[in-house]
């Protein structure tokens, strides 16, 4: 079984997300960079899906993601690739359309492989501590939202099974 997800804050301006995958590094790299693969997993909370998923995988090349929720709300983000070293490292800029993170952040994805298993370390560096905290807060609110949606589903199922 893959190692559990770990989230920590290595500095005042950073969030680090670490997770192991039971697959060799090139496959994990593809899943983080190829639109047709990203569309299958980076879909956001339940009920959300991609409407735009474009990646120009070149240094200086742009990427753009837009998701749409069940009520039609859209959420977009994008940026530019600064470093690309397949299959181990990507550095890119990240900016959400709503800009709740107070300016551009820089994301670094590092993949390390050991015996066919890959550790993915995703570090996001924000422009300030306030920006980082804003991102944490919005992430938590979305997480809460997703939790409540699941709870609703569960309750509806229970209700349905009683009838």
């Amino acid at each position: 079984m893959p190692e559990k997800l770990k989230v920590d804050t290595p500095s005042d301006r950073e969030i680090r997300i670490t997770r192991d995958f039971d697959a060799p590094r090139p496959l994990v790299f593809d899943c983080w960079t190829k639109p047709e693969l990203l569309r299958r997993w980076l879909t956001g909370p339940p009920g959300w899906s991609f409407v735009v998923c474009e990646v120009d995988l070149r240094v200086g090349g742009a990427y753009r993601f837009v998701w749409r929720g069940p009520d039609g709300t859209e959420m977009g983000m994008g940026g530019v690739h600064r470093e690309i070293e397949p299959p181990e490292r990507i550095v890119n800029t990240q900016l959400f359309d709503q800009d709740w993170t107070g300016g551009e952040a820089v994301g670094t994805l590092v993949l390390t492989e050991k015996e066919g298993r890959t550790t993915s370390t995703n570090t996001i560096l924000y422009s300030s501590k306030a920006a980082r905290d804003g991102a944490l807060k919005s992430g938590m609110e979305q997480g809460m939202e997703a939790g409540y949606v699941r709870l609703d589903e569960l309750l509806n199922q229970k209700r349905a099974s009683k009838n």
Partner: protein, 124 residues
């Protein structure tokens, strides 16, 4: 309670939650408070720590929104607040659900891709 750059209050950011939970004494204090509210004196007793030392830990827990103080002006009982913990857990759960979709996708890709390592270690 602190304010972020957008003027929104953060009753306990995820960061503060992590930092508060990183310390074993603070986790023990929460475990004690999970059984029921307690005054600083009551909390200090089993830990063989001075009241100021316990108060310092409580301050960190309060800043993270994990502990609140009850109305009784004399005892000032401390109470465990579960909301920030719930928020942190659910955010991590939402991330994890994406990664579980990625696990499934990787399994599918592994099955369709030629093996890089010819030594196939299948269990018999």
């Amino acid at each position: 309670m602190e304010l972020n750059s957008y003027g929104q209050s953060i009753p306990g950011s995820l960061d503060a939650t992590f930092a508060a939970l990183a310390d074993p004494t603070r986790r023990a204090i929460l475990a004690r408070l999970a059984e029921g509210e307690a005054s600083v004196t009551e909390l200090a007793a089993p830990f063989r720590m001075s009241q100021p030392a316990i108060s310092k830990h409580l301050k960190v827990l309060e800043r993270a929104g994990l502990v609140s103080t009850g109305r009784d002006a004399q005892r000032r009982p401390r109470r465990f607040e579960t909301q920030p913990l719930l928020a942190a857990t659910q955010w991590i759960e939402a991330l994890e659900s994406s990664f579980q979709r990625l696990d499934a996708l990787l399994d599918e890709l592994k099955a369709t891709q030629p093996k890089r390592h010819p030594t196939d270690r299948k269990k018999k």
